[in-house]
């Protein structure tokens, strides 16, 4: 069954023909060019395919494309429309990634966290990012970068 799917991708309206059984991950990558969204496991366990749907992080590998009709979908491409965000700048400063394949998913998850909780404690932050797997870094530099973001936001509150 084909559907003409309309939604907002990174702020712009898009229209694309999809079958019911197509995954959002594949439609974003293959039909809409949003290749920052990665295939890693296909079963929502690695976090590499994480995108924001109406502001919430979602695993695009276990989301049917038809489910986002009328929604706002944001990928890493959309987050940095005005240049690297504060989170990205911290990740750059702390050499937060090695191979970088998990980076888009991490940044999307981190963005959701900071939008809900601008200055999380380290343990809150770790808990929120526990669904994103990284095999290279041992996570320490990601933690250091996020701690810096949280600390900076804490100061900003004062």
């Amino acid at each position: 069954m084909n559907h003409i799917l309309k939604f907002n991708l990174n702020g712009d309206p898009v229209e694309v023909t999809v079958k019911s059984n197509e995954k959002l991950l594949d439609v974003l990558r293959d039909k809409l060019g949003a290749v920052s969204v990665k295939f890693g496991c296909g079963v929502a366990e690695c976090g590499a395919c994480t995108v924001l749907i109406d502001g919430l992080s979602v695993r695009s590998c276990i989301t049917f494309a038809v489910e986002v009709e009328g929604k706002n979908v944001v990928t890493l491409e959309g987050l940095q429309a005005d240049g690297p965000t504060k989170i990205q700048k911290a990740f750059i400063k702390h050499n937060a990634f090695q191979c970088g394949f998990c980076a888009p998913g991490f940044i999307v998850s981190a963005t959701e966290l900071i939008s809900k909780n601008p200055s999380p404690s380290e343990e809150e932050m770790r808990h929120a990012l526990a669904g994103n797997l990284c095999r290279c870094t041992g996570y320490q530099n990601i933690v250091n970068a996020m701690n810096e973001v949280a600390e900076d936001n804490r100061k900003g509150d004062k």
Partner: protein
């Protein structure tokens, strides 16, 4: 994955009539976190998928008439962010915190969790100790089923082919303490190898439920009876933990041996009893404290 008809009804009525039309050849879609994976593996091959996310009637989370009402479309994240749940159903709040990961909790639902009915389900034990009541609705009308009667086996429930769960309610209690403890292989995302909920009220009535150690969640009736009216001490807790083991029938699989599951259930019940009594009296240990 095979193609299918995608339906997105706006009303409960349309959803139920869609389901009646397809019967067992249709699946409801909420978070889809279990359904998509099952479809990918070819375990479930529906002709139609009925997306319930457009039905506003299923999106409620409220306290009324002495109970907490949770609609089918309420996600784990919404439970976790709800002050009502944290205050009135803290064991369920703890379970929500332990479901998969944020990206899954944002779409996955408690109702989807119980309908999927895998033994390792996170939502089972916390609902069992609260005698939650599940609302079913189908072509032939509505009915209510207490949670202990809802599950009939591994991935099996009392739901008819034309029926859906629209929500559930949990009675509000005055003075109580409760806890949910999950046994996973590590702190990161994992399916429970065992789950224990323990509840106590001001009159020393105890309720103990265990999940992932039998084909459905179970209540440890003997242990509850043994403890009834008694003020907890370590010896009683240890004895009750032994009695609780009589209620379970764990298996050995790649996640854990049967023996270790039993070993852990004994410890979890014991520590769970101490923690819920202490929570009732002092509020400690804090929610989401790792007890194992």
């Amino acid at each position: 994955m095979e193609n299918f008809r995608y339906l997105k009804p706006a009303t409960l009525e349309d959803a139920i009539s869609g389901k009646s039309e397809y019967g067992s050849r249709a699946n409801f879609l909420l978070g889809g976190t279990d359904l998509l994976i099952a479809m990918d593996k070819g375990v479930v091959l529906p002709d139609a998928v009925i997306d319930l996310k457009g039905i506003s009637e299923l999106k409620y989370l409220e306290e009324r008439d002495g109970a907490i009402y949770i609609g089918a479309a309420v996600t784990w994240t919404e439970l976790l962010e709800s002050e009502l749940i944290k205050k009135y159903v803290p064991a369920l709040w703890e379970a929500a915190d332990l479901v998969a990961s944020v990206g899954v909790r944002n779409t996955a639902t408690l109702i989807g969790n119980i309908c999927n009915a895998v033994p390792s389900l996170e939502g089972g034990a916390p609902l069992y100790v609260r005698n939650a009541v599940v609302f079913l609705e189908g072509k032939s009308g509505k009915r209510e089923v207490v949670i202990q009667d809802f599950f009939t086996g591994v991935k099996r429930t009392v739901l008819g082919d034309d029926e859906m769960v629209t929500g559930l309610k949990i009675p509000v209690e005055a003075k109580f303490g409760e806890v949910y403890i999950k046994m996973g292989r590590y702190e990161g995302e994992d399916l429970a190898q065992a789950g224990v909920s323990v509840y106590v009220d001001g009159d020393n009535n105890y309720r103990i439920a265990l999940s992932a150690v039998a084909i459905t969640p179970v209540r440890a009736a003997k242990a509850e009876e043994f403890l009834k009216g008694k003020k907890l001490n370590p010896e009683l807790a240890a004895e009750a933990a032994e009695l609780a083991l009589e209620a379970i029938a764990p298996i050995s699989d790649i996640r854990s041996s049967k023996e270790y599951r039993i070993h852990m259930c004994r410890i979890m019940v014991k520590r769970g009893l101490a923690a819920c009594v202490s929570r009732m009296e002092t509020g400690l240990p804090a929610l989401s404290t790792r007890l194992i």
